[in-house]
Symmetry: C2
Subunit: 287 residues, 2 copies
């Protein structure tokens, strides 16, 4: 069922609640791919009812970012959701989410602001205000749907860490389920932004997963020094790659480390053909 | 019932929910007086079950403010609540609310930040971060208790306007009920901070309500110009009064006005004996 208003979603969820059913939400910005579908499948396994939100959230894009260009494929998204047995696709307008004609600014709107130490690193460094926008819309969606479970991909590792922190800090009554990264056979992590890449660009983009896999191998062979580990990456890079960051940090707190350990995660952001791509890997996979 | 942990409160509320009962919350910092009791009475009239939170919230006090000195009277508060038929008094420790030993800072904690236009005026001007701290703890309490109704006093007018805005902006599933100011016979608005005043100081403090009542009279006689209205106040003040602000603004948006109208509210903050007191009045009382 495709719904566009908060009121409709709440009315539907209310019926489910009366029947004692559990509810899961998969927040997305649409342009659904197999990564999203893995979240939806997990949600279907976990909950009686599943809501997928499909909303390109303006307040998490910076002024020079790709909000206008971001792929919008609602008709296809709805078909995919229907074939997965999704109960509600919630696709609100920006007016529905933020109020008609509302100026989208922290002058005029209440924001949820994650901790500076979690934001002022990795993607947050180059994307000022991004995670404020993410937390704000995610909390709004949680409050609209009031689900038992929320499903997020490890692909956006910093995002899921920040959302878990928000849930803990604000006592949000929800369980966050984190799902593994889905990759093409080539190793490329699925992303809606891969649509921007040429065939050539997709090949160049493999550098992200190659660097991360190599880091993991080096760690398993006993290299623990973070600087030494990072050094191993540079031979993979050429003039096609505009590296934004490569970091090895604590997988729960994002704290910098000098020595990697079994709680470490390696994260990379790199532009290829002007497209900003991210990827990450646990140095020791969780069993 | 006096409870100290989030888990206990949630367990109790869950039972009520299973019985289909409605729940109200009255968030307080304790030191209960007849103003709080009017909120509690209203909550009892409106809801099947009532939770009063009793927590002096450290993150809404500035470094030079009266956090340590703020009156704490839990035993008396509990007696008063029992006599009003309150179902739960929730009195958590700071560790329970923010995590054991957690540094209380926006470096390390997720905050709810109300809009700059609502904060950078009136009390917010002199109390940096105050309303971030208020919104954060109030949203936490809402998420812990998940009440249908929240009860707030008009005494803290800017606070209740900001909380209503938060509820709207973040789609918090709760109805906010605003209750009128309770005054001593003298006209002095009740406040936990009145305990800091000497008998002499309480007399000097009457200047706040006198100025506001006079403003309302002037408005009813046809004076609409805000500057002219504010001028009427100054003759009431003497060297015992350290006026922080006197403003006439829109009662919903806090926007400045040049001409007062029936949606205007007059607000005053003034120190007497070093104690910061606030009061406010609608220029046209709502019927």
């Amino acid at each position: 069922m495709l719904l566009h208003t908060i009121e409709e979603v709440r009315a539907e969820v209310k019926k489910w609640r009366k029947e004692g059913l559990t509810v899961g939400i998969v927040p997305t910005m649409g342009a659904l791919h197999a990564g999203h579908l893995s979240l939806i499948k997990k949600a279907k396994q976990t909950c009686d009812k599943v809501v997928v939100s499909d909303f390109v959230n303006p307040i998490q894009f910076g002024p020079s970012e790709d909000f206008d260009k971001y792929p919008r494929t609602l008709d296809e998204d709805v078909k995919l959701c229907n074939s997965e047995g999704v109960d509600i696709v919630f696709a609100p307008s920006a007016d529905e989410m933020y109020g008609e004609g509302q100026r989208l600014s922290n002058d005029t709107l209440t924001y949820v602001c994650p901790p500076f130490f979690y934001v002022n690193t990795l993607c947050g460094k180059s994307r000022t205000g991004h995670f404020d926008g993410v937390c704000t819309v995610v909390l709004k969606l949680f409050n609209i749907v009031q689900p038992d479970y929320g499903f997020f991909g490890q692909k956006d590792a910093q995002q899921v860490i920040i959302i878990k922190k928000m849930v803990k800090d604000l006592n949000v009554p929800i369980t966050i389920v984190q799902c593994p990264i889905v990759r093409e056979e080539s190793g490329l992590a699925l992303s809606s932004r891969n649509k921007y890449l040429s065939e050539e660009g997709k090949k160049d983009a493999l550098v992200l997963s190659k660097i991360l896999n190599n880091l993991k191998t080096c760690y398993s062979k006993g290299i623990k020094d973070v600087n030494a580990l990072k050094e191993t990456a540079y031979s993979f890079l050429n003039e096609k790659h505009d590296l934004e960051y490569l970091e090895i940090v604590d997988k729960d707190t994002l704290e910098d480390k000098k020595q990697a350990d079994d709680n470490s995660i390696a994260l990379i952001a790199c532009r290829v053909e002007g497209v900003r791509l991210i990827d990450n890997i646990y140095l020791k996979e969780e069993v």
